[in-house]
């Protein structure tokens, strides 16, 4: 599903070169739930940005669902990102003056679905996260946990191949974090491929496989995934 071989990322200024990733290799298979851990500044977020096609890399190879992303132009990268990737951010990143329906609609608009198809997908995605009754509500009317659920619904609505979650519970209290984590586990149980960046060992332990990153390099990787949940199946709510 996601394969990086000897990837490097160098930030250059006229004074200094910073190697954010070096010789970074990882292979995430379809249906896996991988936690990427490491201290602050280790390169976790850089990895996630490159995985999400939000940043270019300096060297190495990256295949997403079998597609070599090197040399792609902005429009092609954007299209690939829209079709294959669902993002879940620490800060939820909902648009405050759009209601839940319209927030979930955003990626579907860029996909070019017709109105009926978009409505079907939005309603299914919000139902999947238990918020179908609040479609016309605005983000400010929801709790943090509920906002993160909306963000997950937005990520699911386009039936992506992979979910990238960056500290998805980082802005939530314990109880809400537990609820969001449970939802991610359920999605994984339904067959979703998830990569979650976290520095919380307790959360990482709930993933199927852990990848530890220090100084831009993978230093510890569990080669074989631990099987969890009922098995791999495409989540019913977001079937394409």
């Amino acid at each position: 599903m996601l394969k990086m071989n000897h990837l490097s990322k160098v930030y250059r200024t006229h004074l200094i070169e910073t190697h954010a990733l070096r010789d970074f290799s990882i292979h995430v298979r379809e249906g896996e739930f991988v936690a990427v851990t490491g201290p602050s500044g280790s390169g976790k977020t850089t990895f996630l940005n490159i995985a999400g096609l939000l940043e270019a890399f300096t060297g190495g190879e990256y295949f997403l669902d079998g597609v070599d992303v090197r040399g792609m132009n902005d429009a092609a990268r954007s299209r690939l990102r829209n079709e294959k990737i669902g993002f879940i951010f620490q800060g939820f990143n909902l648009i405050p003056d759009l209601n839940l329906f319209d927030n979930v609609d955003v990626p579907l608009r860029y996909r070019g679905f017709n109105a009926a198809e978009r409505r079907r997908r939005i309603e299914q995605a919000l139902a999947r996260v238990g918020l179908s009754a609040r479609m016309k509500h605005y983000p400010s009317e929801l709790s943090g946990g509920q906002q993160q659920r909306v963000a997950i619904a937005r990520a699911l609505a386009g039936s992506p191949k992979i979910l990238l979650a960056d500290e998805p519970t980082g802005n939530l209290d314990t109880q809400m974090a537990r609820g969001v984590m449970q939802l991610l586990e359920e999605l994984h149980g339904e067959g979703a491929t998830i990569i979650m960046v976290t520095h919380d060992p307790e959360l990482a332990a709930r993933a199927q496989r852990n990848v530890h990153v220090i100084d831009g390099q993978v230093v510890d990787i569990e080669a074989e995934p631990r099987m969890r949940g009922p098995g791999i199946a495409v989540p019913q709510a977001v079937q394409a």
Partner: protein, 440 residues
């Protein structure tokens, strides 16, 4: 996607009403200033009789002082003819239609037998002209029609009244066949004009392009017979002999002379005739200056006489400079607005929007600001034109906003705002999504 971008643009306007109001009013003010000036400029310079302006020509001859040109600064030929030349050209009758004319003062002595409110005697301006004036310049008739060429020759006491004069003297009723008294002489009304107000009084620019047409028309021959003096411009380079006959025999210029020529061939023919006429006159000791004759058509005449003055051009330039200042202000405000949306832009990028899509979205948002500014600007332009009319009554005919100008206003507004939106949009679309998503 256009509909989606449009709805996002409208939503974005509502997000920050104060900033939106500043941008919309900024554009509206610039648009209103430029469109008010442009309307006046356009109507002043526009063709007042487009269906035949190329067939109507002013006759210009140069019988001025041999030692001093008529217009030393700009080198223009005299804009009027002497009585001698005007009557000679009329007598030659070489054009399809021809008219010599001048402005007269007509003291009106109302009969007050219409049964309406009493009208006291008053002075009005009239035009002494030939019957060809009416088919040449085509004022619309409400009642009756022009007098005949025979009545020109017979120095008949006939008149054509304007709608206003007919309203004043006859309560607006059909007055053809009735009599009006001007300066102790009775004239029979043969026609009454409908409302007629050319945007500019191109057939006589000697006392201003924006003056209204005279209030009654009488035959040129009758006015001469009655020794009605010109109340327009009279220019002489040497003192005429005393008395009315002395004035008529002089080289003073005071008569506007127009001809109608159906084809370019007829125009060339008439020009040759004029040159021959001048050469003939030279033999008689007149026209001492080098041969110079001109036959400008209506639009050439308007340009030659600088109806659209340099002042008006400068005013339009300044108004557009003001619009540019307003647009610079809009660039700043849009930049601030779009920079505040960096987080959303980064998010939309992460969710699959390409730079091109975001560029289009924000350009349409700028366009929405533009169309809003255009609508407000249109209202302000209307107010501006009312203001111009209130301050300068002579501008009445050239301060009306037609549908073309409404369209131009809205288009200019959208184009201006879109132009103003280009840099802020480009700048906003350069946002690195990764840097924004963590900071939201």
């Amino acid at each position: 996607m256009f509909g989606y971008y449009l709805s996002l643009g409208l939503r974005s306007l509502r997000r920050n009403p104060v900033l939106t109001a500043l941008m919309v009013f900024g554009i509206a003010l610039g648009i209103a200033a430029s469109m008010t000036s442009l309307t006046v400029f356009r109507l002043m310079g526009s063709d007042p009789i487009p269906w035949k302006s190329d067939r109507l020509h002013v006759v210009q001859l140069d019988n001025w002082d041999v030692n001093q040109a008529y217009d030393e600064e700009k080198g223009r030929l005299p804009d009027q003819l002497s009585y001698l030349d005007a009557t000679a050209l009329i007598a030659a009758g070489r054009a399809d239609r021809q008219v010599a004319m001048y402005k007269v003062v007509l003291p009106v002595q109302p009969a007050n037998d219409a049964g309406g409110p009493e009208v006291k005697p008053y002075l009005m301006l009239g035009r002494a002209t030939y019957s060809d004036f009416f088919p040449m310049f085509e004022p619309p008739f409400r009642y009756g029609g022009p007098w005949s060429r025979e009545q020109d020759d017979a120095k008949a006491r006939v008149t054509v009244l304007t709608q206003t004069t007919n309203e004043k003297l006859f309560g607006g009723a059909d007055s053809t066949g009735k009599t009006v008294r001007f300066d102790g002489v009775d004239y029979t009304v043969v026609g009454v004009l409908d409302r007629w107000q050319p945007r500019i009084k191109y057939f006589d620019l000697t006392v201003g392009a924006l003056t209204e047409p005279e209030e009654a028309f009488i035959p040129f021959t009758t006015a001469i017979d009655l020794r009605a003096q010109s109340s327009g411009n009279n220019s002489c380079f040497k003192t005429p002999a005393p008395g009315w006959d002395g004035f008529l025999a002089s080289d003073c210029i005071w008569i506007q002379f127009w001809v109608q020529l159906g084809t370019p061939a007829r125009e060339a023919e008439y020009k040759n005739f004029l040159d021959a006429y001048v050469m003939e006159q030279k033999k008689l000791g007149r026209f001492e200056r080098p041969l110079a004759t001109l036959l400008p058509d209506v639009n050439e005449w308007i340009a030659l006489q600088e109806v659209v003055s340099r002042d008006v051009e400068i005013q339009v330039g300044l108004a557009f400079a003001f619009l540019a200042v307003c647009l610079v202000n809009t660039v700043g405000l849009l930049l601030a607005k779009f920079m505040r949306k960096r987080g959303e832009i980064g998010l939309r990028r992460a969710l699959g929007a390409s730079r091109g899509q975001l560029f289009m979205q924000h350009l349409i948002e700028a366009g929405v600001v533009g169309i809003s500014g255009g609508i407000v600007g249109l209202a302000l332009t209307g107010l501006g034109l009312i203001g111009v009319r209130a301050l300068y009554s002579e501008f009445k005919a050239i301060t009306e906003l037609d549908w073309t100008m409404v369209g131009v206003t809205l288009l200019l507004s959208v184009l201006s705002a879109t132009l103003a939106g280009l840099f802020p949009t480009w700048h906003a679309c350069r946002v690195q999504p990764a840097s924004q998503l963590k900071t939201q």
